[in-house]
Structures are given as C-alpha cells and as structure tokens.
C-alpha cells in the first residue's frame, strides 16, 4: 500500500501535496497496490473536503486538538503511529519546508529510510529514485535497502495535471493518541513579514546576480547593465545572505517565483532552490565561467565566460 500525506498551507492543500497525490496514483498503478491518503493535523476538514476529488482507496483523517497547529513533535508521533498500524510500503510527501522539519523524525523513530528531494522515479526494477547531489552538478539513482521507505518529491517531479479524480472508495478516522508528554516544543502562529520591496513578478526583463560577481564592489557594474537594458535586478540567496542586496530581490524557493520574458543571470550556479523560482522564464540567458554549471542545463543561451570581463563591455555596447 502507498500512503500519501497531505500538507495544509493556510487552509489549502499545499501544491507539492497535489503532486504527491499524482505520484501516489502512479505508484499504485505501477506497483499494483492500494493508495491511501492521509489528512493530518492542522485544518484537517479543509484538507478533507479538497481531497474528496482524488481517486484513492481510502481517505484517512487524523485529528487532535494538540496538532491543530503544526508541531514537529505531534506530527512525527501521529504519522509514526499511522505507519506502524498500516505498514505502507512507501509514504509520499512533497519536499516542503514542513516535511524537512518533521519527516526525518519519523525516519529515526521507525528506522525507515527517508529518501528526500527526489526529482524522478524509475519504475523499471527498483523502483529507483533520482536526486541531485554535489550542488546539482551530478545526479544519482538511489536504491532503498529496506522493506519500507519515506519519500519526498522536489516540485515538478510529478505533475498535478496527471491527477485522476474519482474520490476515495472509503473514508476512515484514525484514532489519534497524544499526551502532553509527546509535545515538547511550542509553535506560534505563522506570520508574514511586510515586504516593502519590488514585485519582481511584474518585470519583463530580469538581470539576476549571483555570488559569481565575486565581490560587493562589482555590484554597481552589474546594476549598470540592468539599467542599460531597463531590467529589474534579482539575485540568488547568498547575495542576500551577505547583505549585498535586500531580501525582496531574492528569487527561489525562499524568495519570489518569476517568469519574465528574459531571465539573464550573472554568476548564478543554478541550484535547485534557485531554479524553482525562475525555470518558468520564457528565455534564459546565463553567463558563468564554469561550463559544467547546472544553470546551463535549463538555459537557452549558455555564455561560458567571466562576468567581470563581459558585463562592462556589454553595457557599453548597449549604451552606444
């Protein structure tokens, strides 16, 4: 049996969970086994009503006042209990920030391996799971040497377009047992920090700055190119972490998601957490001095060269 665990994101099913359901349906078909979907914890009724459409054998709800707000302690305890009782072969979730936070706990509690951040699945043999390693410069196929496994999928490993509707054959409640001893940590409500920044999503042209500009002193040179093109400046996370640009310029899984007409990157390596924020761009032009940089795998135009040398000349040429 395959168990997909749904995640709530402020009242809605997390988009990664939709992809995990699509994955679950595919797994069930390929491995010829049953599919169970679990609605867990926070806003469980919202999840349940939205999950009514998914074709599955069982829709399970696990609810308790102690997990009405997300808690790593509570969620890991309850999911471990569900897994112990139902013994699914695979437990599937999206590779979200919540999954990073509590699923390893389940893995350690039950001694079941957790293969995280999977980008694709090969059902011939295995199944084998591929993921990126070494800063996305290489990928690997992972083999599980255990009866059961926990799996999390990077966004777009499966597509919610492939979801089969039809609804669950059966609905059941899981009998949750939690005591205050189980919950050590106390979560407070989620909040958003006022983003007094620019809306990068509205820009047609983006010049994206990565750590490859080598020093904060080179920032004005890169900004001149953006000015000459009439482009908005975006950046990778390290550029923000080092304080070279403000957080609202960041693109990626913890920044903004953009799809401009042109995304032009200067010294960005193309880590998956950055790529999820810009892979929808209509055209991708990237300068990087390393010809193996992963950004080139998704670029339309791959410029192999030094930004410090190319950018000033290019700006001059545009300004002519």
């Amino acid at each position: 049996m395959i168990l997909v665990v749904l995640e709530n994101q402020r009242g809605k099913i997390h988009p990664f969970s939709m992809e995990a359901v699509a994955a679950g349906q595919k797994f069930a078909e390929q491995l010829d086994c049953k599919l169970f979907i679990l609605c867990l914890g926070e806003k469980v009724d919202d999840l349940k009503s939205q999950a009514q459409n998914f074709k599955a054998n069982k829709l399970i709800t696990a609810q308790h006042t102690m997990i009405d707000m997300y808690s790593a302690d509570g969620y890991s305890k309850v999911l471990s209990d569900v897994i112990s009782e139902l013994s699914p072969k695979y437990v599937l979730m999206g590779h979200s920030y919540m999954v990073r936070d509590f699923l390893p706990r389940v893995s350690a509690k039950l001694n079941i391996p957790f293969v995280s951040d999977i980008i694709s699945v090969d059902f011939n043999g295995g199944p084998n799971f591929s993921k990126q390693v070494f800063n996305a410069k290489l990928a690997t196929n992972i083999e599980v040497n255990s009866e059961q496994a926990l799996l999390s999928f990077q966004s777009a490993a499966f597509s919610s377009d492939d979801l089969k509707d039809g609804g669950p054959d059966e609905e059941v409640q899981f009998n949750v047992e939690l005591s205050s001893n189980d919950i050590k940590s106390q979560s407070e409500p989620e909040f958003q920090e006022s983003s007094s920044g620019v809306d990068l999503t509205a820009a047609e042209l983006i010049v994206s700055i990565g750590r490859g500009i080598e020093s904060e002193d080179n920032l004005p040179t890169m900004q001149s190119l953006a000015d000459a093109m009439g482009a908005e400046v975006a950046s990778s996370r390290p550029v923000v972490d080092m304080g070279w640009l403000p957080p609202y310029r960041q693109v990626g899984s913890s920044g903004q998601v953009i799809s401009p007409k042109l995304y032009f990157s200067l010294g960005v390596s193309g880590a998956i957490q950055h790529v999820v924020g810009m892979k929808g761009s209509k055209n991708i032009l990237a300068i990087n001095k390393d010809e193996d940089a992963p950004i080139f795998e998704i670029a339309d135009y791959a410029v192999i060269g030094d930004v410090l040398e190319i950018v000033p000349k290019l700006t001059e040429e545009i300004n002519k």
């Binding site: 997300y70 790593a72 302690d73 979200s96 920030y97 990073r100 936070d101 390893p104 893995s107 350690a108 001694n111 079941i112 391996p113 957790f114 293969v115 995280s116 990126q132 390693v133 070494f134 800063n135 996305a136 410069k137 290489l138 990928a139 690997t140 196929n141 992972i142 083999e143 255990s146 496994a149 050590k184 940590s185 979560s187 407070e188 958003q192 920090e193 047609e204 042209l205 390290p238 972490d241 304080g243 913890s254 998601v257 007409k261 042109l262 032009l285 390393d290 193996d292 795998e297 998704i298 670029a299 135009y301 791959a302 410029v303 192999i304 060269g305 190319i310 000349k313 290019l314 040429e317």
Partner: protein
C-alpha cells in the same frame, strides 16, 4: 551551555566534480574541500550564544568523514573560536542519512549537549536530514530552518523560515537539535591569534563503524540537458557581439 556544531567538509563550488571509475563516487583527488555553507552560519550562531550566555559555556565542532577531507574543517572551527573538536573518522563513503546520524548519535550521546547545531543542508548530499535525525535519536527537541535564535532560561526560541515569506516562532526546551538556515548572522573570519591558538586546542578522534546503509547510490551521472542550449564561447568581444545579436534580433528586448 554546551553546544555541538556539526560541520561538514564539502567540495568547493569551484572544484571540478568528476565521476570516478567505480561510477558510484567522485574523483576526490580533483576536489578542494571547504566548510559547508550553512554550517559556518551554525558555528557563528553557537559562538554568539556562548558569548552572550557566558559562564562555562563551550562550543565543540564535530565532523565526520575521512582524515584527508575534513582536517581543514576542524582547524577552521577551532581558529574561529570553538573550544575543542571531535573528529569521527570514517574512511568509507557513507551516504545514508540514517547511518550517518547513528554515528553522530552514538558518538555524541555521552557528551549530553544542551544544543546541537547543524546546517540545514549539506551542499554535496543535500539530504537536509542529519540534524533532525540526530535530535530524535538523542531524544532532543528539534527545529529546522532557523533564521534567528533567542536563549530564554531553560528554552531556546527559534524563528523558522517557512515558504514564500512566512515565518513562525517555536520555543524548544533543552536539549535541542536545531538546523540553521544561511543568512542568520555574519560569520566571522578567524583571527591570527585564533589560528595560532587552534593548534593547542583539544581534538578527540573517534573511530566510526558505520552500519549497513538503508539507502545507497546505484550510480552517479551528469544530469541531462532539458533544453536545446546554444553555447556561446570565445573572447570577450566575440561573446558581447553574440549577446547583442540575441538581445536585439532574437529576443528584441533592447
């Protein structure tokens, strides 16, 4: 306050990464090992907590791996201000998060750390699991993606980064294992005095005996190109002329 910081040696961004003849690992001879990015933020956070809490606080840098790859990592941690080092020597390539976490848990159990800090993700394996696994194995409270911490009596409050600009505060009783997101602070550079003093600090080497791997690499490969990519190479003038042509004539954006 007794704080461990898990610090990993990873191939630098500039290193050329090539699959070796086994097809399952990389050619390490071509690689320059450096400290994993989020781990240096974790170390800085630990050092700042030690400085604020005072008393007989202690920061211990802990690494696991082969002698050749990790020696710089410990030295760097001690030079920045960690009080001592623990080196868990493992010459085999262990890629299974559960086995790695067991090695940490078994070797660190008797130390009874109040806090274990780790990076939220290693840039080579990218499992994003180790800190939480170790925390669970040692019966500690856990949190991930910390971008601010505040020690308050017998608790540590952690501001967690969530997706798309959302955050959450979590308060955790000690002992606690927390994985740190990059950007939480400004990591210091080692001082000359620190570098000199590092040599005299205690380094404890423990031999690791990894258990069977619950998941393992079948092979390593270069990812396939998803798109038809036009390669642009040459001297700077040639490149500039080609980019101009693309911007002007193909994309018509200038």
């Amino acid at each position: 306050m007794k704080i461990a910081v898990l610090t990993k040696a990873i191939p630098s961004y500039e290193s050329s990464i090539r699959v070796d003849s086994s097809g399952k690992w990389i050619d390490e001879a071509m690689v320059n090992y450096v400290v994993n990015e989020s781990d240096s933020y974790a170390l800085e956070e630990a050092l700042q907590i030690k400085e604020n809490v005072g008393g007989d606080s202690e920061v211990v840098v802990v690494t696991l791996g082969s002698e050749a790859n990790t020696s710089k990592v410990i030295k760097d941690g001690l030079a920045k201000g960690a009080d001592r080092g623990i080196f868990i020597k493992n010459e085999s390539t262990t890629t299974d998060p559960l086995s790695i976490a067991k090695l940490f848990a078994d070797n660190l159990k008797s130390e009874n750390f109040d806090l274990i800090f780790s990076g939220l993700q290693s840039d080579d394996m990218g499992s994003g699991q180790t800190g939480v696994l170790v925390g669970e194995m040692l019966d500690m409270s856990t949190a991930t993606l910390a971008i601010e911490t505040q020690v308050e009596g017998d608790k540590i409050k952690v501001k967690r980064e969530l997706e798309s600009g959302w955050f959450q505060w979590v308060s955790l009783p000690f002992p606690s294992s927390i994985s740190i997101q990059s950007g939480i602070n400004e990591p210091r550079y080692p001082s000359l005095k620190g570098i000199m003093g590092a040599k005299r600090k205690e380094l404890n080497t423990l031999e690791a005996a990894p258990s069977d791997q619950s998941q393992s690499f079948v092979n390593l490969y270069i990812p396939k190109n998803e798109k038809v990519t036009e390669k642009i190479e040459g001297d700077a003038d040639t490149i500039v002329a080609k980019i101009m042509d693309i911007l002007k004539n193909k994309l018509k954006v200038i």
